[in-house]
Structure formats: structure tokens, C-alpha cells
């Protein structure tokens, strides 16, 4: 790759790449407002000025140049911190602040506002503008975001977003000169399903998420990388939380998955992470009609005793799981049935689903499969079919042991009715549902924000979650529950962490072979052996 120099340090660039893009990719800091790597270059905010002391031909550029719009060139030398550059930035910030309300103390963006940051670093600290400022009112502009135009710095990112990214054109720039404003026109609210991104890309607090309004000061939030499990796309996210409460999800760049974006529905999944009422918070055992508190030991012992009494054959044991279960959990439940009962009867729902096709990438994030791990289930060859025919046939005979993971077949009353009379129903899951109602033993699992596991998304990328919030004290991650269950049934399972489970899975499953948990990292890994999902149907995104 060709090389140029930023402040005397070599930086590699792709031919045709702009100075700013190469700089940011290489971890260099150059302030910028209007530039966004996913959108067209307008070079209008003028904050990204740099001093090109050598254009690559021995000659300097005549004046400061905007790094976002000038191509990097072999041999080019630029300075980003000399006095000329500092003055260039200072004057731009001064211009921006003359009309800014300076209401940082009540602004939700405070703490992650580029204007605030740069003004602190480069600003002159005082504004000589003693004229009345532009004043506009606060406005509710969509289902998900609101607009405070007084804070707007006219960077046009939001305008370009609805033009270039969603193609919905609900937002625009109106008037010109000093009166230039961004808005939806004549109070028509926005309808696109990705409005939260506009709050993310707005460099100031002009567009903010309504969900987050006045809830917490940003600098109090702790952040963890994870993935969104709202659907099988698995957008990369940062989960932001404080004192064990999750406040919001923000997309995290992953060029192979979601680029810089995520959908609003996914953002709202933060609410489930804080859900307490329907959580299963301790192991429960059925006594007559009622479920009663028991300890983990009692639970495992009870299950082991019942099973040894029944001596079920392979046909009399079945496991049902949803595709919210992680790769490791699916692998382990399958392994348990095989090792413990010589049974292959692990079923999950695999309905047909639709994938959107669109000239706008962002629309392809939305799928009708609202579970995160269908591809994992397919890779691990969990049984299932669109009509649930096979599972229904299998449960026709007498059932002795049923293990249910999560909330599968929740709308299939026929299946639920047939499972009900089984002699032992064990439900493992984070939330109460129809299965905990009929279960004999209920074991409290954990939501994905509380555990480290992997999922395989619709593009067959394996991606990992992280422990973000502390789980309920008496819950355990499902993978651990299955391992302990196997141990109580007398199997020598010696997995003490998720990495070991993953390693065994990779050793035994072609799709995962060669991948290790640590390799997955930030960006995820494609399955070693991919396959075609016949349940997928491509549909055109609505215009």
C-alpha cells in the first residue's frame, strides 16, 4: 500500500482514499463534523483543515485544505497540529458557536458532542458574538427522534442520511444562508425504521433519541461491545448501561454486517434487558399445582432421580429449543441427548422467513426472522421444518422426558398439549412463558446481555456477546445449566468456560471447524462451511 505522512508518521492509504479517511482508519485524530465514511463528501463544516506541507511533489498547498475532501498521495506530508491548523479550527468553531445556544448542561448529547469536545480542545473559549441567535423550537419529528434545531450546525449528515442511506427523503435542508435549516417539511413526521441512526450521526445534540431524553448523562454510562439479538442480522452494538440498568443500544461499525447502522426496533430491545417482572429468578419445582422455590442441587437431584426411575429410551426423550439459544447451548443440548439417551430428538422451529432486497443497504438489515440464531441451529443440524411436521410426528408416542430451552413453539397449542402429559418436563430459560407453566422443574437462565456466548447470523457470521450487566444472583447461563445437568446424570462433562464449549463444538461440527472463541473478536467470523438456507425468500423492500 502507498504511504503518506501525518505529523511525520507514515500512514498507509488505499489509492483514491481521502486524507481524513486514511487518518481515521489508522487511529489518527482529525476533528470532523460533516464527514461520515458512509455518506457522500460535502466538505462544508471546514473543521477538518490540515496543512499540506508537501503535496508529494515537493511543493506545499497554498492554503489549509479540508482533509475529508483531498486525496492522499504518495509522498504527501501533512501537519495536523501546527499553529496554522489550530487557528484554522479555532475560527471554524468560533463561527459555529456564535449561533449555538450553549445549553450543554441540559443537552442529552453533552459528553459525546463533537462540538463540545472540539471547542474545548481548539476553541478560543469566548465568543464575541453579542447578537441574538437563531431560535427555533424543539420538535417531535418522528417515532424515535426529536429535533432541537438551535443546536444544529448544518453539517447535513441527517439530510444525506435520508437521501443516501434510507432513500426515504423525509428530511431535508430548507432555505439558505444564515436561515439554512434541517427539518421534516410542514410537520410531516418521519417514518423510516432507522431514525435512531440520525441521532447517532448528528455530531451535536440537535437530533436525539426520544427514548433517552433526559434519562442519564452520557458520561455516566459504561459501554460494552455486543450484538443485537432482535433479529437474525445480528447488528454489532455497544450496550450502554449504568448501575446494572441498560439505557440504550448504539450500533457499532462492522463492515461485514451492519456497517454503521441498526434499526429502531433493535434499539428498543434494551427494554427487555431491564425486564424483571417475568424473569425466572430461581430454580422452581412443581409440587401439585404450584411451583416452589428449590435449590439448584435439589433441582438437579430431582431430575436425575426421576430419570433413573423412568429409564427412558431414546424415543421417549425429546428436547425443544428456540433459536434464541446460542451456538454453544444448541450444541450442548444436542450432545446431552446423544450422550445421555442416544437420542437425536432436538427440535426447533424453522419457519420460512423473508429477507429484504433493496438498493439501499440499510433496508437489508430488516428480516422477518426475529431470532438471532437460526443459522446456528441449521449449522448444528438441529431438526425442524417450516410446518413443524417432524416434531409433531415425534411427539405422537409416549414421552417421558422433555427438556425445553427458551420459548419454542409458543403459538403451537397442539405441541404444548401433547407435551403436557409427559412425565418430566424441564424448562430452562430466562423468562416465564407457557413452558414454565407446565414444567415440573424450571431452571433460571440468563439473557444474552448477561452472558458470553456466540450466535450465527443470517450471513453465517459467528459473533459473540459480552457480559454487560450482572445477571440475577440465582440464575446461571444456559450452557452451564446443561453441563451441570449432564454431570448430575453421571456424564463427565468438564467444561468450565464458554471457550472450552466452543472448542469442542468446533472440533465436532464441520461448519465451525477451525474457529476458536478468541478468534471471533470484534468483527465476527464466517462459518468455515456455509450452506444454503432454503427457508429464506427474498422480497423487495417497500419503496
Amino acid at each position: 500500500m502507498p504511504v503518506f505522512h501525518i505529523d511525520d508518521e507514515p500512514v498507509e492509504f488505499h489509492p483514491g482514499e481521502k486524507i481524513l479517511s486514511a487518518a481515521l482508519r489508522n487511529g489518527k485524530k482529525i476533528p470532523h463534523y460533516c464527514y461520515h465514511p458512509g455518506m457522500s463528501i460535502v466538505a462544508t463544516c471546514r473543521i477538518c483543515v490540515v496543512d499540506i506541507v508537501d503535496l508529494g511533489n515537493g511543493r506545499p498547498a497554498p492554503k489549509l485544505q479540508t482533509a475529508c475532501s483531498v486525496d492522499a498521495a504518495e509522498g504527501m506530508k501533512i501537519e495536523t497540529m501546527n499553529q496554522k491548523v489550530e487557528e484554522g479550527r479555532k475560527l471554524v468553531n468560533e463561527f459555529l458557536l456564535i449561533n449555538h445556544p450553549l445549553d450543554c448542561p441540559i443537552c442529552d448529547q453533552s459528553g459525546e458532542c463533537t462540538l463540545q469536545d472540539y471547542s474545548f480542545e481548539y476553541g478560543s473559549g469566548k465568543s464575541e458574538m453579542d447578537y441574538s441567535k437563531r431560535v427555533y423550537g424543539w420538535r417531535d419529528i418522528g417515532t424515535f427522534v426529536s429535533l432541537e434545531r438551535n443546536r444544529c450546525i448544518q453539517c447535513s449528515r441527517c439530510d444525506r442520511f435520508t437521501r443516501e442511506i434510507t432513500g426515504t427523503n423525509e428530511f431535508g435542508m430548507f432555505n439558505r444562508g444564515h436561515e439554512l435549516t434541517v427539518d421534516t417539511y410542514t410537520d410531516r413526521p418521519m417514518t423510516n425504521k432507522f431514525q435512531g441512526n440520525m441521532a447517532d450521526i448528528c455530531p451535536v445534540g440537535a437530533i436525539t433519541e426520544k427514548e433517552f431524553r433526559f434519562k442519564r448523562r452520557v458520561w455516566k454510562l459504561k459501554k460494552n461491545r455486543s450484538i443485537c439479538t432482535g433479529c437474525s442480522t445480528g447488528c454489532n452494538v455497544t450496550i450502554e448501561h449504568d448501575r446494572n440498568e441498560v439505557f440504550r443500544l448504539k450500533p457499532h461499525e462492522n463492515q461485514n454486517v451492519n456497517k454503521w447502522w441498526m434499526c429502531d426496533e433493535g434499539r428498543l430491545t434494551y427494554q427487555i434487558m431491564n425486564e424483571r417482572k417475568t424473569r425466572i429468578n430461581r430454580p422452581l419445582g412443581r409440587v401439585g399445582q404450584n411451583l416452589q422455590d428449590i435449590s439448584w442441587e435439589e433441582a438437579y437431584r430431582a431430575i436425575a432421580e426421576r430419570i433413573s426411575e423412568m429409564e427412558p429410551t431414546g424415543n421417549e426423550v425429546i428436547a425443544l429449543t428456540d433459536t434464541h439459544a446460542s451456538n454453544e447451548e444448541l450444541f450442548l443440548i444436542k450432545k446431552l441427548l446423544k450422550d445421555g439417551f442416544l437420542s437425536d430428538n432436538v427440535f426447533c422451529p424453522l419457519p420460512k422467513w423473508e429477507q429484504r432486497e433493496s438498493e439501499f443497504f440499510i433496508n437489508t438489515l430488516i428480516t422477518t426472522d426475529k431470532t438471532p440464531n437460526r443459522a446456528g441451529a441449521l449449522a448444528l443440524k438441529i431438526k425442524g421444518d417450516p410446518g413443524n411436521v417432524e416434531v409433531k410426528n415425534t411427539i405422537d408416542g409416549e414421552l417421558k422426558v422433555v427438556i425445553v430451552l427458551g420459548n419454542p413453539f409458543e403459538t403451537e397449542h397442539e405441541i404444548q398439549q401433547k407435551i403436557k402429559p409427559a412425565q418430566l418436563v424441564v424448562h430452562i430459560g430466562a423468562y416465564h412463558n407457557c413452558w414454565s407453566e407446565i414444567a415440573d422443574v424450571v431452571l433460571p437462565g440468563q439473557y444474552y446481555s448477561e452472558k458470553k456466548v456466540t450466535f450465527t447470523n443470517k450471513m453465517q457470521h459467528v459473533q459473540a456477546t459480552d457480559i454487560v450487566v450482572q445477571a440475577l444472583r440465582r440464575s446461571r447461563p444456559e450452557w452451564q445449566i446443561i453441563v451441570e445437568l449432564a454431570q448430575s446424570l453421571g456424564h463427565k462433562y468438564s467444561f468450565s468456560n464458554i471457550n472450552q464449549v466452543f472448542a469442542e463444538m468446533a472440533g465436532e461440527t464441520k461448519a465451525f471447524s477451525g474457529i476458536s472463541f478468541d478468534q471471533i473478536g470484534d468483527q465476527g467470523m464466517k462459518l468455515t462451511q456455509t450452506f444454503k438456507d432454503t427457508g429464506m425468500k427474498l422480497v423487495k423492500a417497500p419503496a
Binding site: 435520508t162 427523503n169 423525509e170 428530511f171 431535508g172 435542508m173 430548507f174 432555505n175 439558505r176 421534516t184 417539511y185 410542514t186
Partner: protein
Amino acid sequence: MFSKEIQNQVNNLLSRYPFKQNALIPILLLAQKENNGWLTEEWMQHVADCCEVPLTHVEGVVTFYTMFRLKPPGKYHLQVCTCVPCCLVGGTELLEYTEKKLNTHAGYTTGDGLFSIEEMECIGACSYAPAMIVNEDYHEQVTIEKMGKLIDKLSK
């Protein structure tokens, strides 16, 4: 929405550009003319459909250019230039006189709907200053007397 004759002009315009969007501004001007000098949301939507662009785009365009109006002008739209050369030779006074005589202000229409006044930036007639445009006609080296007579004539 266009009359037959104007629709022909619209069709002709659309045929003269590689993309329909290219004809947006000339067609908006025609629409404005059809609607007595101003644009409504309905008209903007109609032009948006003609040029196959989103309505927001049309609105962004309309609010950018000074010739598009979102409220009705008077029957006679007096566009008085007060830019640099005109201002040097009495353009500002001319505007003040006009405002006083019509008892209204630049940007407004008289109560009878007969006149509206607009203060213009240079209209490209500087060597013949002060200059103004009435609807589509240029008037040059306009004195206060000339303006008075013109308004009287048009008021009849």
C-alpha cells in the same frame, strides 16, 4: 393540473434533459405561473410527480430560490432593486417611496391584492440604475416621479 398549453411546454421541457429531475426548476416556474404567481403544496406535489423526485426535495429547492413564492403576490409584483449600484443612485429611496405610497412593506401585498413589493438584490441592469421589474418587465432609470406615475396608472 396544468392547462393544455402549459402541459405541452412541460412535456417539451421533460424531453430536453437526460433526466426528468433536470427539468425541475423550469417546470416549477411554469407551475407558479399557472397558479397566479405562487406555489401550493398541491402544486409542488404535482411537479414532484412530473419530475419523479420526492416532495421534500422539491420543498428544499423551492425554499432555496428567491423567485419561488409560498404566498400569493399582488397582481402587480414590484421588484425594486436596492443593490450596490442601484443604492448608489437612489434605489433605497425609491423602495422607501414605494412602500410609503402603497402603505405596505417589502415582502407584503396591499390589502386590495393589487400590489406586492419585493426588495431585490442586483437584477443585472446596473448601468441603467435604479432598476426594477414589474411582473416580467424591466423598468430602468426609475425616478420617484416615474414610480409614482406607474403606480397611479396600474391602480386604475
